[in-house]
């Protein structure tokens, strides 16, 4: 049995918790989608929200970003937010096209 890490920030335990939460969130996603609990638009929103939470956990804990300095966090998170905003614009446009039709 090996020792708990004696470095600055964390022990092994929290990684198992994060892994457990990620598995649970995945199960929630699968059940929501398989039972078709929501209409497609709501379903997309719900799945995206869950995916963003999962990403935040992976980036923050597994990729260790939570323990980096602020400058690093800002640079990376602004890029991620930019991607998500782009996604929002594309999705909205795609929904619009369904209603407006194509000429």
């Amino acid at each position: 049995m090996h020792d708990v890490a004696t470095t600055h920030d964390e022990g092994k335990g929290q990684y198992f918790w994060v892994w457990g939460v990620l598995l649970i969130l995945t199960a929630v996603e699968v059940v929501l989608a398989y039972k078709r609990v929501f209409q497609p638009l709501r379903m997309l929103e719900a799945l995206m929200m869950l995916s963003i939470i999962k990403s935040a956990l992976i980036i923050g804990y597994f990729m260790h970003l939570k323990y980096e300095i602020a400058a690093m966090k800002w640079v990376l998170m602004i890029a991620v937010v930019a991607c998500l905003c782009l996604m929002g614009i594309f999705f909205a446009d795609a929904f619009r096209i369904v209603h407006l039709g194509v000429r």
Partner: protein, 251 residues
Amino acid sequence: MSDVAVQHGIAEAYEPSLFGTYSKKIGMWLFLLSDSLTFGALLFAYSYGRISNPEWPTPFGKGSITNATIMTACLLSSSLTMVLGVLAARRGDFRWTRWWIFATMVFGSAFIVLHAKEWNGLIGEGMTPFKNPWAPNVPQFGGTFFTLTGMHMLHVTIGVIYLGVVALRKKFLPVLLALWLVIWLMTPADSFFHIAVHVLLVGFVVATVVLFLKPKNYDAHDVEIAGLYWHFVDLVWMFIFPLVYLMSTRV
């Protein structure tokens, strides 16, 4: 000299880093940033087609969703073993580091095998990048699916090779060559993977060049950076899984 400076955490012999950490890590984060834009573009293109097209096929039944969920669990577990490997490397325990990296590679390979089986199943049902049997009016279903998941599978494969090189260094080269040969011989000649397996050969050539041109003992920093890449691959799947599979379930 710079290695000595790096061993102590921050290179005090030089100016302090703007981002508070060593250059290799910053470099890997910047690469991941660019790669996330690549996957972002593919995801946006796929999602636009998916949402704007009411006739988009929804062929993923119980078997497919179960398979994809197991694949997701494999990747999440591989991320866990990877982070435990990074912790072990930081402790200086390189024996355990290697075992955790092997575990990560096993989970990653399981993902690839399950995904390849799924692809073979879909191809067997008549799906190609240009047409599919479920929606003749939506020919782009195959193209978007295979591009998105294929690009991801390529990243996973490269990740497994990368991890093998970090864990075993030159001893990994014969393993990689053997894998390439065995998979090439075991796949039928008309299977996509009979051609795609040559990625392993390309990886072998690149790994050989890197290992012989710049031989070094990979330290905790190198393991951590490999870990960052691996978590990124998992991250991308966190978006592909719901957008491609869960939005197209066939109940």
